[in-house]
Each structure stands twice: as structure tokens, then as C-alpha cells.
Symmetry: C2
Subunit: 491 residues, 2 copies
Amino acid sequence: MSKVITPRDTDYSQWYNDIILKAGLADYSAVRGCMVIKPYGFALWEHMRDQLDRMFKETGHQNAYFPLFIPKSFLSKEAAHVEGFAKECAVVTHYRLKNDPEGTGIIVDPEAKLEEELIVRPTSETIIWNTYKTWIQSYRDLPVKVNQWCNVVRWEMRTRLFLRTTEFLWQEGHTAHATSEEAIDETVQMLNVYAQFAEEWMALPVVKGVKSANERFAGAVDTYCIEAMMQDGKALQAGTSHFLGQNFAKAFEVQFADKQNKLDYVWATSWGVSTRLLGALVMAHSDDDGLVLPPKLAPIQVVIIPIFREASQKKIIDEKVKEFCADFKAREIRVVYDEDDSNRPGWKFAEYELKGVPVRIAVGARDLENSSVEVARRDTKEKMSVSVEGLADTIALLLSHIQENIYQKAMAYRDSHITRADTWEEFVDILETKGGFVSAHWDGTSETEDQIKELTKATIRCIPLNNPVEEGKCILTGKKSTERVLFARAY
Amino acid sequence: MSKVITPRDTDYSQWYNDIILKAGLADYSAVRGCMVIKPYGFALWEHMRDQLDRMFKETGHQNAYFPLFIPKSFLSKEAAHVEGFAKECAVVTHYRLKNDPEGTGIIVDPEAKLEEELIVRPTSETIIWNTYKTWIQSYRDLPVKVNQWCNVVRWEMRTRLFLRTTEFLWQEGHTAHATSEEAIDETVQMLNVYAQFAEEWMALPVVKGVKSANERFAGAVDTYCIEAMMQDGKALQAGTSHFLGQNFAKAFEVQFADKQNKLDYVWATSWGVSTRLLGALVMAHSDDDGLVLPPKLAPIQVVIIPIFREASQKKIIDEKVKEFCADFKAREIRVVYDEDDSNRPGWKFAEYELKGVPVRIAVGARDLENSSVEVARRDTKEKMSVSVEGLADTIALLLSHIQENIYQKAMAYRDSHITRADTWEEFVDILETKGGFVSAHWDGTSETEDQIKELTKATIRCIPLNNPVEEGKCILTGKKSTERVLFARAY
């Protein structure tokens, strides 16, 4: 079977799909816009999920689980929210099938129609705030800091593996607070958790910022986000954290008595990241030979491949590899010894490169006579002869170097793709030729943002946090502006 | 707020609901038959899930994720399967909402009707076997050993917290094999994994057996199960493992080429346990003061409560408790120090009993002067004075004693509730008075089983594995029988 990947420069989009399908991360499914996450892709997601979950728990959050279905009337209670989600909802209208009396097979039983339709959750603010109403009466019940890991459904017209699928997996945190300040602190704290996760674990540098009104979450007062840069110069929103003000508390009548026994509406946040991060991981680091995975998240960090001609050599190799594996496991290095004899070493080399395994160790009988093995890095493709003495230590260090190198490489690309534009011509030219983020002045209005999007397909990705004040003129209208914002074409 | 629990003997069903609601495991939701799993209940589920997941991985399984939605036509491909599930399906018929032009609010957009309706998965055999078709061509692709953790929906008419809810969380393993023998071995292996988990982790003794045809999974050749006994003498099916033969491979045309290049249909298994296990855990061990949790699964294994009058005493206690907690954590004992001063010690004692925390340690200033603390067991309610020397070791040992004691207690109850019946009168009398499992002869026909169910509400829970051969006569019809089976009324 051919596992040739379309080169990135030939067709970026096909290159991306090829990697996902051929490295065994995911598959298309029989259900429109839904994908199957295959074991290798899911193992990667498990590592991401487990680390995020640890970070959520360290910041005082607990997991819970709320219903998949949302009564239609709930969705309508927050005006901006329903406006944002109504057009992409999967709707359950019936609860039974039956045999067609006319013999055409199984049909929906028209007598089993629901009195009120149920929406498959596109996000859970409404059902959760309807629940919080029963949990929260007094300031003593606050804060509530809950997260859930679940599936959500948004009926997208154009889908793309991981980046935009009808169903996806995510986590959604929903917190309730007594004051606006505390809720804003929580929003920012979770943005920082996401940024730290992206940078330290995914090796993905991100810009932290705030969305413009156009790009804000439906129902939020402010949406904070982390924005990453892909290798084709397009931006990707990797996570969002929303300050919801009292919007949902008002929609669902959630009030609390403060210490003076005065009633007030509760302050809210919500924040989420999804399997979309897997798409970002693929796009940010991979090359024409396949995936490049940061060691901290790689399901397999090290693969060992035996090189031999005779059974007697294999036996010597096996014994030595057994020692290596024990040492690696003691250091919690995830290692696989691939001694499957139905594939040749060359085939295996290509296969593990495709799968993005950070380190490959070829153990040959001759090398062992010299007490060495051949170590290859996936990120730089360097090969080196390494002593078997202290091999686990050497590899542990190498894995941390690879993690750092992948991050630095992505950072260098990202930094070289933030370009200032001071005229409309420059602005358009950068978008058309170089891509990346364009740092430019904007007059602050939705109309101008809409117009720029219409003309260039670029949107405001974010207004960076701690943005320096700078006098300037809007790139399009020439009106006064006090700061630059980041524009880009985006996924 | 009153947290009084209805006594078990007064109203078993209300006792069960009271514990779940008042211990904070779950809540009813606004969606019919769906529940909210609250943080404490979800933490319990996380411990169960994580341990099961480890056991699945140790037996060579990998996790993956398949779509929530199943095209209606897929469900119909296996005749027995659709017959079993058609009557309880949530059906998605539309993918958009819109503003009613007549101004009544948000309505389902009639123009956004799906060409083919989608079923919210009640179980995933069909969508998974449709996928396996593309994964499996040759014997080299086998076995496939995949599991998924997900939510499923079955539109139950009568629901009950954890035991029977419209939506529930579960895992479903789906494996594919080259031979019937290998598939049967897998089915039995996973039954044993479930039994081991129930007994060693949930402290829940189970009977392993095979279902009669009436109780078999829709689409299975054989359904293996573990059956547990609750404190009201009713049985509860705690997990099932199905040998599916070639039924789904035939329905979805999944064939493989064997070593001789001959095509054959693939052999299948599926197996699952769900959040229903949380209901079993509550029902099997709890008492009139609340939950009793086996230490291995308890989110909090030890709670420490300070007893003092003056701030100076509290300071001494704090210092000592800090040491205890460090020692406990070093031994991976999950400990909480509850120094919240808004509640009195007596209130806390009751609260943690309600929550089933296995060990409570009261640390008083006076006790400390004598280098001792007061330790209370949740299972037996015993209190004892324990030396602070080597406290962590003492507690670790105590936790394992509690785990064992809870198991032995449940085992004694279960064993004393397996009763032989040789006449119809005995059979009915046992069911009416004592309850529990009734071990009796049966003529092996579905008709007789139906009739017995009709007359007594008892069903055949299982034909135990390694059942001794014994000549006898069917309890109802008097026809010849060669073995006893276990009847019971069940959840």
C-alpha cells in the first residue's frame, strides 16, 4: 500500500489530509461531517486530555456531566446565544422507530413525536445554568468551578478532519462567581492554562488576546483566545475563554444572597478546547514525511528496531533491548520494540517517521559489539551513534531537546510571520504573498472589520493582551486608532 | 438543610434516591429521563473508569471514538438488532432552527430536513462494523481490539437515577477476530475482567453466567453476564460481554482473506459496563446513614477533622495534620483536611458519613497531648484511639481491612440469598418472602421463562458458568432438566 504524502508545497490541504489518514489518526465516517478517531489519534488525544485535566484540577476545578440534550426553549433564553447557534443545530424530534405498515422497512414512528424538540448540545451554557439555579442560593455556594469532557454537535456546512467536524470532542468549563472581578480573573487564568498547555506540551507558540465584537462567543461579554500560526500562514484559534457577565444568570434567573443578604445575579465564565487541537498539532509541526510529534504528547516516544541477518544475532539484540526497555520504562519513557518480522527495517523507518515518533533507535548486532546503537531524531532527521552506557539518560535528554527544538522552530516561523502594515496596499500585499499575522491599525468598528473581511478574507484574530498604545490610522478607513490588532486569514 | 435519609426498611426505593441526591452524586435534570452527574458522583465514576481503562489496556485494547449518530438504514441491517432497539431510539430529523415567521419564537426549520434520519447511538455495533469493513481485509489486520468511552441514549419509559436513564455513560468494547474460538476467548476474558473489577474494586460479589435466549443482547449469539445481589433481594445485571458470531460481519459485509487466501466473515465480540455500576455500588453497600464506599474507589478515603476550642490549639493541630497529610499523600491515600470553621464537628461527622468516606480522623488538642487521634470506620462505625506514630501505615492497613470487610459483608448477604427451590410453591414463596436468587430447574424453553416472568416477575438472571449437571424437573412444567439456573426479580 502506498503511503506517499502529497508534498506540503504542492497542495497544503491535501498534505494535511494525507497525514491524518495515512498516519492513522482519523478516518472519514458514513455520517456526514463526522469522523472516526482511530486508536493512534485517540491515544494522542488521551495524552492531551489527561494533561489538561491535571491542570484544571490543579486550578481547583472538578468534573461533572450534564445532559446531551437541551430543550429547544432553553436555547432561546439568551438572545445572542440562540442567534449564534440556531443555524447549526441537530434536532431530535421523535423517540421511536417502527416497521412501516406499507412494508418499506423501518420508519420513524409518527406517534412518537416529542412535545418539545430537543437540541443535541452545541455547547452547554443553557442546560448548565438551568442546573446551577438549583445549586446556588447563597454566596456560600460560590464559586462553582465545574468542567465536563464530552461530545458536542454543530451542523457545519463545510467540514474538515479535526478542524471542523459536525461532532467533536471537547471540554467545557463553566464557573459561577460572586463578583465580576473574580469571574474575569477566572477567565484570564484559564486562558493562561491553555497558553501554557499549548506552548509547553504541544510546542505551539500562541498569541493571547481578546476577540473583537464580531468574533465574540454568542452570549459572552468578552472572549479571550489563544491564536496559533500554521505553516501555510493561516491562523488557527486554539482555545477560547469567555467572560459571560451576568447574561446567563439573568436568562436562567440564577441569583445569590450576598453576606448582607442582598440578592444579585451570579457572574459566569466558560472556556473550552477541542479535538481541533489535534488538527493544530498536525499543521504546525509536520513535514513531507509525515507527522512530527512533540515528545511530551507522543503516544510512542521511542521506537526500537532490530537490525540483523541471523537468528543468533537477533537473540543478542533481544536481550539488550529488554534491558533498554526496562530502563526506559523506569524513566516513564514510552517505548515500543518493533520486532515484527513481516516488515523490513526500511519500511519500519518510514512508517514511524510517518507516525511522528520522536526518536528511533536502530539496534544492530555489529553496533552492539562496539557498545553503540544508532539514534535518529524525527524533527531534524539527524542520525548519530550513541553509547549504550546510560542510554536511557541520553534519550531522556534528547527527548527534551526535541520538545524544545520543535517549539523554537514553530516560534521562529510564527515570529517571522507577524508583519506590520501601515497602508492598505501593504496590508493586501502581505496577505496575498507572505501570509501570517498582519499587525495593523483598525478604527474599532464592526463595519470596518466586516468590510476588510469581505475584501481580503482576513479577520481580526485578536487584540493582543498588554498591547502597547500607539497612535495610528485605520488601515482601511484612515480613522484614528490607538493600538494595532492582529489580522489574518484563518481556519 | 435537612439531610435525613428515608430508612431502607421503610422505603427501599426512596432510601436509594435520598442517598444519591443528598450525598451529592447526581441530580434530576430538566430533560426527561436524563440526569446530571454531580462532581462527587463523577469523581467516583472517574476512579471506576480509570481502573477499568487500565485493565482494558493491560489486556491489549486501545481506545478510539466513533460517531454519535447512526444512519437509520444501518440499524436495520441486523434483523435482531433493530428489533431490540427500534422502540427506544432518539431520532434526529432536522439540522437547523429558525425564527418563526409568525413570531412565536424559535422553531425547527422545515426546510432543514435530513434526507435520512440519524439515530442517537443506543450502542455502536452498526456504525463500528461499517467502519471495520474498511479496516479489515486480511488476517494480518486481525484481531482488532478497540474500546470507546462515550454516551449512549435509550428512550426508556421508566427511568431511575443511575440504574436506568435515557442517556448514560459507558464503555463499549468491539473486537474482531479470525476464528470463533478466539472471539469466544475474548468474550470470556472480558467477562472475567468485569468480575474482577466488581469484586476487587467495587467490593461487589458477582455470579458469572450466560443469559437465556430471552435475555440475550439483540444481535448476539451468546450473552455472558455478571449478576449482583442488592440489599432488597433484587438482582442487578452489572456487565455483559457478547459473542456476536458473524452476525454483524455478515450484515456489513466484513470479510478477511485467511493465510490460504480464502475469504471468510470476521468473528465479533462486544462488551460494556455503564454508569449503572454507580447505582449498584450505592445499593449494595449503603446504610441508613448514607453511602458506604469501598476505599479503592472512594474519591476521599480519609477525612481529617480538627477538634478545638482555642486558636492556639488549632495551630498545634494544623501543624500535626500537615505532617499526616504529607505522609498520607506519599502513600497515595486520598485525604482531605476539613478545617472549614462555618460547620461544627458533629455536622461534619454526619456529612462525611453520608458521603461514605471510609475513614474519619478526629484530631483533638487533648488527644495530641497523648500522641493519639480518634479514628472512625464508616463501614462498622467503630471508633478507636490510634497512636500518631506510624499513622499512615495504620490507616493504609485499615483501608484494606475496610475494603475486605465490605466485600465479605456483601458476599455473606449474597450467599445467604441463593436459595434452592424444588417445587413451584417453594419457588413463589421464596420470591415473595425472602427474595434473592432462586436456584431452580427449568425446561430450557422461552415459553416457560415468559410464563414464569408473567406469574412472578422473576427472570432467569443467568445460567452460571461451570454449572454442575443435575437431573431434575422444571419448576413450572415438570419437564426434564439437567441443570439449575438462577432466577430473581431484577433491576
